[in-house]
Symmetry: C2
Amino acid sequence: MDFSSFVTSLATSFVIFVVLMLLFVWLSRMPGNKVVYYPSRIIKGMDAWDGKRTRNPFAWIGEALKAKEEDVVAMAGVDTAVYLVFLSSALGILVLSGFLLLPLLLPLAATDKNVKLAKAEKNSNGTFSELDNLAMGNIRKQSPRLWGFLAAAYWVSFVTYYILWKAYKHVSQLRAAALSAPDPKPEQFTVLVRDIPPPSNGQTRKEQVDSYFRSLHPDTFYRSLIITDNKEVNKIWEELENYKKKLARAEVIYEGSKTSSNPEGTRPMNRTGFLGLIGKKVDTIDDCNNKIKELIPKLDAEQKKTVSEKQSSAALVFFNRKQAAISAGQTLHARLVDTWKVTEAPEPRQLLWLNLPITLYQRKIRSIVIYFFVFLMVVFYMIPIGFISAVTTLANLRKLLPFLKAIVDTPAIKTVLEAYLPQIALIVFLALLPAFLMFLSNKEGIPSQSHVVRATSGKYFYFIVFNVFIGVTIGGTLFSSLKTVEKDPNQIIPMLGRNLPPNAIFFLTFVALKFFVGFGLELSRVVPLVIYHIKRKYLCKTDDELRAAWAPGDLGFGTRVPNDVLILTVVLCYSVIAPLIIPFGVAYFGLGWLILRNQALKVYIPSYESYGRMWPHMHLRILAALFLFQLTMIGYFSVKEFYYTPVLVFLPIISLVFAYVCSNCFYRSFDVTPLEVVAQSVKEVPNMEPIFAAYVPPCLSYDKFDDADQYEDARSQMPSRAGSFA
Amino acid sequence: MDFSSFVTSLATSFVIFVVLMLLFVWLSRMPGNKVVYYPSRIIKGMDAWDGKRTRNPFAWIGEALKAKEEDVVAMAGVDTAVYLVFLSSALGILVLSGFLLLPLLLPLAATDKNVKLAKAEKNSNGTFSELDNLAMGNIRKQSPRLWGFLAAAYWVSFVTYYILWKAYKHVSQLRAAALSAPDPKPEQFTVLVRDIPPPSNGQTRKEQVDSYFRSLHPDTFYRSLIITDNKEVNKIWEELENYKKKLARAEVIYEGSKTSSNPEGTRPMNRTGFLGLIGKKVDTIDDCNNKIKELIPKLDAEQKKTVSEKQSSAALVFFNRKQAAISAGQTLHARLVDTWKVTEAPEPRQLLWLNLPITLYQRKIRSIVIYFFVFLMVVFYMIPIGFISAVTTLANLRKLLPFLKAIVDTPAIKTVLEAYLPQIALIVFLALLPAFLMFLSNKEGIPSQSHVVRATSGKYFYFIVFNVFIGVTIGGTLFSSLKTVEKDPNQIIPMLGRNLPPNAIFFLTFVALKFFVGFGLELSRVVPLVIYHIKRKYLCKTDDELRAAWAPGDLGFGTRVPNDVLILTVVLCYSVIAPLIIPFGVAYFGLGWLILRNQALKVYIPSYESYGRMWPHMHLRILAALFLFQLTMIGYFSVKEFYYTPVLVFLPIISLVFAYVCSNCFYRSFDVTPLEVVAQSVKEVPNMEPIFAAYVPPCLSYDKFDDADQYEDARSQMPSRAGSFA
């Protein structure tokens, strides 16, 4: 890519960004779009525009800048605030790095003449662009100017350590403040118990769990909730909910049909068969009412049966004091470590009920299998992609699916298909990947949604760093390179060093595209807007349906974080080689921070709250990016035949030590809740009933558990049952 | 070594063993030696011989066999019982292995003729002995008979897994039973708190700790004991104790001098200067009385000062319920993980008071430095040894220490010195090694004696396996071999495989020597007996001194366990290559088990009780031995050019998986106390005073803490102090 096409690409991206910004300013001022641009405020019962009708088009920038961290926590939770800390940390690292690197390295590079020399030698100018004069490539081999670049590598590293240390401290405080808030959080009174051994003869699970915890925590045990197998009851409940929705919709349609010309209206009808397309025609309202009447007693019976008969080997145990629950969650209960595994309970809304009864060994085996599979996918994903590309050539398609011949042979279609078929296959694969990784992570048997998101994010990070960054860098020669690496593993670092510089401009464009187009789309919400308006016009009938149409969803950390870390990795790795990338990185994280702050305050609603447990994960990924940068530096300096390259070897070692120290200092307080933190808030026993009810899934009703408990109590008062736990 | 010298060596060892056994039978029957052969029974107030005067000389064998495990636990504690389980597990592994290996492999080897062929080829018989006909060396290359040896390797591995799994389960039960005993154990009511942050202004450590724990554990906190800097007070206390002993001794001497001829007696005198050799002569009794009178108020003042002013950043915190202390010991207290580090308290008698105030970072750094140093020592210990040998040649000694010339030039002395000087240097080094390793482990900042012993045992294990086993095997070519390994790390396994077989007979002799002479000395206790009698005759005057002279000491797991594991490593590694070693191994562990059981029941008194925490350590070392065996097998099979050698690759993988599963299943219940276990015993609050007093070191008196506490209480009732913890 030469200089002019670089400028063209940059300009195009910028124009798209400006258009999207103007669209945002225009669209967000229309009252009908309020629900798309301010859903979070509307759901919280606040006025979208703070009462002001005529707003400065750029007021949102001021609002985003002025908002305090507490406001973000209040509007979008700790997790979102932590994500913004992550963005601002990345921004801080790049800004501080740029302060030294731009004034130091650009003049050093610009006044040398390696590129010119190389040009003269090769008598060509095909592979060198004007930008290369400002990069490390313009420094001659063994030049003493390389000391400046070496110092820059140290500066970037220490800036990163400093910012990360401060950020970890800050996030740790954020988390502690949120955890110590006095409002009773159900998860602080609850522990999750898994791998309960089979009950002794005659005991139900409920009796077994109650007697076990009552004997170990006689003063603080409140009650237990056995995890049940809800497949059946959930099916019935969903069917019922479906009919209820259908009924509401039918009633609205019926009301709507009562025009003046037809005061009776037309009762909506539907067919009972497949997708409402075949079968008998029935009156929808009557049909739904009948079905609901049928289903309610069925649900009731199934609920009773589930609660009493389908108890599994996991349970939630409630305590009437926070300290007791927090301590119990960290204490080894049973002598055999693979039984009675007690951990802190996740939030009710992120509890993955179906994963809870999976046993320890199955969880371990699943993890191993899934990680092995992901490893294969990360390393060899080019093989199935290549295979798909090969199969999806037109010639093959014609052979395999002969009925397509007529379409495929049209010349116009043929040209388009030939050009784009392999790319389309790749795009479809990449689009499905996050969902697939989320599915895999869920199958590991993880008990909470936030943990699944962290696991997904980790897997996705490996995938994109390996494939986008290393893949693009080493490029088409990946497989032949792998062979070299196999022969001599020490070759990987010099290889990275050699292959990075020629791709600098590609990545400059990549980062610019990401922030201009990506954040432009993010802020302008063009896609959700269009979807909302289509749904509103053609599909939604009831208020509930309308609300579902503009529900903003959450930030989707599973893919968002790895993508940001990828940008950071790219910018860090090029920061010393081609310092011009730093302003682009600053623009990415600066814009990102600003726009995401706006979105956090006004748009997204997090679907769970993990009190910043994502932070250690982000911290480690940033460090991994730094580590990769340091290895790259060692590689590139040795390509430059710099005599003092070994001085750089300390950097990766310092990074490892820093990671170890941070994890020793902070990690455990993210893994579990420190006792000190919960003990700061009120100490009275709160009303425990809502805490228990919060964990009852919607398909089971609270009173069923109450009934069962009373039944148990009556039984356990019989003399033969008393003291059944030895 | 040829066959006849092997038999000679074996016979010599056996004769020594028989002599030692006869000595034991004879000496242990003499009433004056009771205190050497039955000290444990005497200290526990039991009759040494169970009242029977005329005993069968081999009654001890029956008694050792008949004794139940509970008897061992009652007499010598859980740790000793666990050590016996370790011996019987090793025995079980070898017996079960032998059942298959001896009848299967010996005929396979005996009927082949590789050795004969090699002999014929080389036309010499120097390097082959008759025993080699019974070893794997006699199997020809690529022979299908190797399948038998391959099956044997699998059999040995699976026998080991089976026995280890059963043993882990058994030890876990032993530990749980001991921990759940209803007698109040001080350590079950106590937690150790380290890394307490600096107190806020005006607060003392004591106030800080009390308010912190009172607010986090309002119902169960009893009181705290701040670790103080006892150097000064301990010095005074030791001086005082010394004078008390001296006084008692002087009084006995004085009484003894009152004979009929001299009814007044002579008052013992001593000089006050260096070692009692120079200085003024004084009356010992008067002098001691004066010194004691002087020291008592000095001690009192120093005790007060220590308790109130020399408080450090560590403390013991006492709870009035077991469950509360056990839970607290496993719960993260502070948000910053490097402050308020709460762990279960070690037993009072094994608490290493001086290590407690060492901060987290210092502990980590010390560990790293010490492990790095030990690593260097293990790998390069031959360098200083070689250096010492070089320096201690006679020529050098004469040059360095010219005044020795006269002695050294005597021809007789010269010959002896020349022959033994390097060996003596090596022996001195090896004899000092365990104490040195113990010193290093202590310096890591470990809080309990049992943990120091485990750390020492680990270091010593690496040392002897690397140096004795691998050192002897690869022999003098170690350094040139290391160079080969550096060039191609994959060479280490084939190298082991090539070098093991020629050393089989050396190790056969080694094992035989160890059990005949080692256990003979152990049972006959010749060394302690001689020392005791010398002390009794010439040194001891008072009863206390006499009691100290026969005090039996404990088993010294720090060196005993690694030595046993070394034998097991040797026997396992040769079990398939030269199955004849198995009976020797069986004899070692069989005799060891029997004799150590006798010693446990009658001699040794453990100096601490860690409830079997040594077991995971032993388990892992046995597995390491098995792992080394499996690698050796892979190496030797590839030397034999066996086509199916890769079948063996599964074995080390299975071993790793087995280690992982075991540690997941059992380890945490050894690392911490499971709540279930302590909750089984009585639940009333016991008398807490003796529990607190158990932790007060002898140089400080209990009432000083009580006084200080009352003073604190009075202060803390002042309004300005109340609620100082936010």
